[in-house]
C-alpha cells in the first residue's frame, strides 16, 4: 500500500503511466461520445410534454452530475497535499479546477436554455438548485484566482486545499437542494426498466453513455494537463531534460 502510494507521488512515474494510458482512454472517450451523441440526437423518442427538448437533458444531466465530482476530487487531493505534502496531488488539484468551472458553466447554460422553453424562464433566483450550482461555479473561479494570486506555490497549494475541502459542503447542498426545498428544478427522475415509461431506458441509457463519456473526458483532460504541469515544474530535473532532447 505504501509503496503504491509513494509511486503515485513520483511525477516521473505518473508521466510514464499516463503516457501509456492516454491513447486507450482517448479512444474510449471518442467511442462513448460518438455513440452518446448519435443516440441522443437520432434515437431518443419524443416526450409527450417535452417534445425533443429531452435531447438537451441527455447532455445537461451528464455534464451536471459529473460537475459534482470536482470538489470531492479537489478535497481528496487537497487533504493529501496538506497531510503528506505530495507534489503530485497538488498538480492534479490545480488542473482539475478550471475543467470543473467549464463543467459548471455548461450545466448552467444548457439548463437555462432548456428552462427557457420548458419553464418559461431562463433563470430563477429563488430556486435552490440553480443558485447552488451558480455558487459552485463562483467557488471554482475563487479557487483558480486564489492560486494565481498567491506567489508562493506552497502557500497557494495549502490555501486551495482548504477552500476545496470547505467547498464540498456546497456539493451536498446541490445534490439535496431539490429534496430539501421544493421550488422550480425537478428532482432526479426515478429510473424505470419499463420501456413504455416516460423515464424508461430509452432516455437513461444514452444519458448513462454520456455520463461515462464525461468521466473519460475528465480523465483525459486531467492527465494531459497534469503532464504539462509536470514538465513545467520538473523542467530542471534530468529525466525531463533527457525527454526534451530525445523529442528534438
Amino acid at each position: 500500500m505504501w509503496q503504491w502510494f509513494h509511486r503515485w507521488g513520483s511525477p516521473k512515474w505518473f508521466y510514464d503511466l499516463s503516457g501509456r494510458w492516454l491513447p486507450w482512454l482517448t479512444g474510449a472517450l471518442i467511442l462513448f461520445l460518438v455513440v452518446g451523441v448519435v443516440w441522443a440526437l437520432l434515437f431518443v423518442p419524443q416526450d409527450y410534454q417535452q417534445s425533443y427538448t429531452t435531447r438537451i437533458l441527455v447532455v445537461h444531466v451528464a455534464v451536471a452530475s459529473t460537475s459534482l465530482a470536482f470538489f470531492p476530487i479537489m478535497a481528496v487531493a487537497g487533504t493529501i497535499t496538506l497531510v503528506w505534502k505530495m507534489k503530485m496531488a497538488d498538480m492534479v488539484a490545480k488542473t482539475v479546477a478550471p475543467l470543473g468551472a467549464w463543467f459548471s458553466a455548461l450545466t448552467l447554460a444548457s439548463g437555462s436554455i432548456w428552462g427557457s422553453v420548458m419553464w418559461g424562464t431562463w433563470w430563477e433566483w429563488s430556486d435552490s438548485r440553480l443558485t447552488s450550482m451558480l455558487f459552485q461555479f463562483f467557488l471554482l473561479i475563487s479557487v483558480i484566482s486564489l492560486r494565481s494570486a498567491l506567489n508562493d506555490s506552497e502557500t497557494a497549494a495549502k490555501a486551495c486545499a482548504v477552500l476545496s475541502i470547505v467547498g464540498c459542503v456546497n456539493v451536498v447542498i446541490i445534490k439535496y437542494s431539490v429534496e430539501w426545498w421544493n421550488t422550480l428544478h425537478q428532482p432526479a427522475s426515478a429510473l424505470s426498466m419499463n420501456s413504455g415509461s416516460a423515464n424508461g431506458p430509452a432516455f437513461w441509457v444514452p444519458t448513462l453513455v454520456m455520463v461515462i463519456a464525461m468521466y473519460l473526458l475528465m480523465a483525459v483532460h486531467v492527465m494531459m494537463a497534469t503532464r504539462n504541469e509536470i514538465l513545467r515544474r520538473e523542467s530542471r530535473s534530468q529525466w525531463v531534460q533527457d525527454l526534451v532532447l530525445a523529442a528534438k
Binding site: 461520445l33 451523441v37 440526437l41 437520432l42 434515437f43 431518443v44 423518442p45 419524443q46 417534445s51 425533443y52 427538448t53 435531447r55 438537451i56 447532455v59 445537461h60 455534464v63 475543467l99 467549464w102 455548461l106 447554460a109 444548457s110 436554455i113 432548456w114 427557457s116 422553453v117 420501456s195 424508461g200 431506458p201 430509452a202 441509457v205 473526458l217 483525459v220 483532460h221 494531459m224 494537463a225 503532464r227 504539462n228 514538465l231 513545467r232 523542467s235 525531463v240 531534460q241 526534451v244 532532447l245 523529442a247 528534438k248
Partner: protein, 68 residues
C-alpha cells in the same frame, strides 16, 4: 430501449419539433466545450516542449563540454 428514429425527413430532424434553436445551441456549446478542453492541453504541450527545447539548446551552448 432501441427505438426507431422518430423523424421522417432531414428537415424534421433539423427542426427538432420546433425547438431547433434550443437543442442546437446546447449541442453547439457542448462541441465548443469538448474542443476547448481536449485541444487546449495539446496546444499547451506543444508550446511547452518548444520552450523547453529552446532552453536546452541555450544550456548546451553555455556549457559545451557537459553536453554529452
Amino acid at each position: 430501449m432501441f427505438e426507431r428514429i422518430p423523424f421522417s425527413s432531414f428537415g424534421e430532424f433539423l427542426n427538432m419539433g420546433g425547438y431547433a434553436f434550443n437543442v442546437w445551441t446546447v449541442y453547439l456549446l457542448f462541441v465548443i466545450f469538448l474542443l476547448v478542453n481536449l485541444l487546449g492541453p495539446r496546444r499547451r504541450r506543444k508550446q511547452l516542449m518548444k520552450e523547453l527545447e529552446r532552453r536546452a539548446v541555450l544550456a548546451e551552448r553555455q556549457q559545451p563540454d557537459s553536453s554529452d
